[in-house]
């Protein structure tokens, strides 16, 4: 969609519209991310990639809940060295910014993966310090202020592309951690990753996910994510990409009003269709016109001032 109403600039990235593909949804290959971009996404985020390959957990890795999905994929990824070729290929075909999500088991690993991703052509990196189901990484780092500061500082020191920090809701005070990431130099925050959850089958009396615990996504977490965005934007000036359960244009507008400058969409791609990006952009445009706004940026944080 090419209309100026929807243009946004976040963390130095120019997006034609404020919707982006969330990490871990389809984002392995350049071709599938291009397909998502053709469906209207203003930017794409890859699957989280680490220094070494990971096979992920055995199935079941995804289980349906009443208004969301619980997943424990276990960060399956080919490792950054193997993934470099895919980043280069993706860059060669994509017309929208490519954000590479990285994770690690130490600040050095995050920095190494991020540096290689940036060198391969990533327009920005997103630090996954919020995966809720893999030990010694993800939210175990993002939930600890000292580790979080070290990781963000180290990555910032070693590269000059924008660094986005993706936060977990599975913490006592997400605002405190957002503040830590901001002070350590984060160029933007993605809020939120999945909410820790599980499912049990009553016939077999077994937990369904092989990893037992997973992360809840989809409509069930939207109110939680919205509150997180609102709270953070009240105290922290760093721009926010809102994420969690966004399914239609109203959801997207709510996140913008709460203080997000852009949104990321995951689960709705499967539960609805990849065309969810186009649908949201159309609805957003109509809303802006109906309300007499000249730019989507005018909505950002507006509910705080209401």
């Amino acid at each position: 969609m090419n209309n100026n109403l929807l243009n946004v600039n976040i963390a130095g990235l120019q997006l034609g519209n404020p919707t982006a593909l969330a990490s871990g949804i389809l984002g392995y290959t350049g071709d599938i991310m291009q397909a998502v971009a053709e469906n209207g996404a203003g930017a794409v985020v890859t699957k989280s990639v680490g220094v070494n390959p990971r096979m992920g957990y055995a199935n079941p890795t995804v289980v349906q809940a009443k208004s969301g999905l619980i997943n424990a994929m276990g960060l399956p990824n080919p490792g950054i060295n193997e993934y470099i070729e895919e980043i280069k290929y993706a860059k060669s075909i994509l017309q929208v910014p490519l954000i590479v999500s990285v994770y690690g088991y130490s600040a050095d690993e995050y920095a190494l993966a991020a540096k290689k991703a940036a060198a391969a052509g990533a327009d920005a990196v997103e630090l996954n310090v919020s995966c809720p189901h893999v030990k010694y990484t993800g939210s175990e780092i993002g939930g600890n202020p000292k580790l979080l500061r070290d990781v963000v500082c180290k990555v910032k020191a070693e590269m000059n592309k924008p660094v986005i920090v993706k936060l977990s809701p599975n913490v006592t005070d997400i605002v405190e951690l957002a503040d830590v990431a901001a002070k350590a130099g984060a160029d933007a925050l993605t809020v939120i990753n999945t909410v820790r959850a599980m499912a049990i089958d009553v016939e077999t009396t077994l937990p369904v996910l092989t990893n037992i615990r997973g992360g809840l996504s989809g409509p069930a977490i939207k109110p939680i994510a919205l509150r997180c965005v609102y709270d953070i934007s009240e105290c922290v000036k760093t721009p926010i990409m809102g994420c969690g359960g966004i399914t239609d244009w109203r959801d997207a507008v709510e996140f913008l009003l709460a203080g997000a400058s852009a949104v990321q969409i995951g689960t709705a791609i499967a539960m609805e269709a990849p065309s969810v990006f186009q649908d949201i952009n159309c609805g957003l445009t109509d809303y802006l016109k109906r309300k007499g706004y000249r730019s989507v940026n005018e909505l950002v944080g507006k509910s705080h001032r209401a």
């Binding site: 390959p53 079941p60 399956p76 539960m271 269709a273």
Partner: protein
């Protein structure tokens, strides 16, 4: 029901007992489960079958109706071996049915199956028997006792329209399933060809039908985890095999020629051979 409510219902895990188990040969067994939603599966669609405590795997539907669904499973690894050890009454979980189905065409049709890929084609053949003018079947395997559903096929098509091939010559023609095709194409004009089986065979069939401009629908296999178009494990080019497939038309396959028969994603998302 809107799309997402419908998918939520299909994707909700239902645990259900195995009501029947039938050995097809030394390594393949057919399992039947009660499930109202899966009983509505169309030929070409697949289900996700949970073997509790072990794994959850994609399987093509062999038969569906009367509140039941059947799948034929070859024991090849951990999950499928555990399933083979289960008894009638044992509890499994099902999700689905998922994915695209074969077009039920009229006219003259040819079905080409290899290995357990014959299962969805037998399901299709049963539905086509009433519609199509003439059904022909080519079925291939390494050796005689791996040729699946010979008897069932004989009763769906006429016996003389089933052509069997084995690599060791223990039954039918001694060759690959793709070898007799050129002759068949010379002899008869087919309105539509369907194929499912090992990817090298499927690719060969595609190359042959493309040359002769014969319409084709082919079912592909990729690693599947979510089964609903979310996780990206099964992507080929711009398509998700679990959602946009597993049944693809020749036109779609020509868009993914670089990967079709060439590469797929492994468990860690790296590119490996199919």
């Amino acid at each position: 029901m809107n799309l997402s409510a419908n998918l939520t219902a299909l994707n909700t895990l239902r645990t259900t007992p195995i009501v029947d188990i039938k050995a097809e040969n030394d390594t393949v067994k057919t399992f039947t489960m009660k499930d109202k939603l899966c009983a509505k599966a169309k030929p070409g669609q697949f289900i996700m079958l949970w073997i509790p405590g072990v794994d959850e795997i994609p399987l093509s539907v062999l038969n569906a109706g009367n509140g039941e669904v059947s799948v034929s499973v070859k024991a090849v690894g951990d999950a499928t071996r555990h399933l083979h050890d289960m008894k009638t009454g044992g509890i499994v979980g099902v999700r689905g049915p998922f994915g695209t189905c074969f077009t039920e065409s009229r006219g003259r049709v040819l079905l080409i199956g290899g290995g357990t890929g014959t299962a969805p084609l037998l399901f299709l053949a049963k539905r086509l028997a009433a519609k199509a003018d003439r059904l022909s079947f080519v079925i291939g395997a390494k050796t005689k006792n791996e040729l699946l559903f010979l008897n069932d096929l004989g009763s769906v098509c006429s016996e003389e329209s089933v052509l069997a091939t084995t690599e060791d010559g223990s039954y039918g023609l001694k060759c690959l399933a793709t070898e007799p095709l050129e002759k068949l194409f010379d002899k008869e004009k087919f309105n539509l060809i369907y194929t499912c089986g090992p990817e090298r065979m499927v690719r060969k069939v595609y190359d042959m039908t493309e040359k002769r401009k014969i319409a084709l629908e082919a079912s592909l296999e990729r690693l599947m985890r979510c089964g609903i178009g979310l996780c990206g494990s099964c992507v080929i080019g711009k398509y998700r095999v679990c959602r946009d497939g597993p049944v693809f038309t020749a036109a779609q396959l020509s868009e993914v020629k670089d990967e079709f028969g060439v590469s797929r994603l492994g468990f860690d998302g790296s590119r490996i051979q199919p």
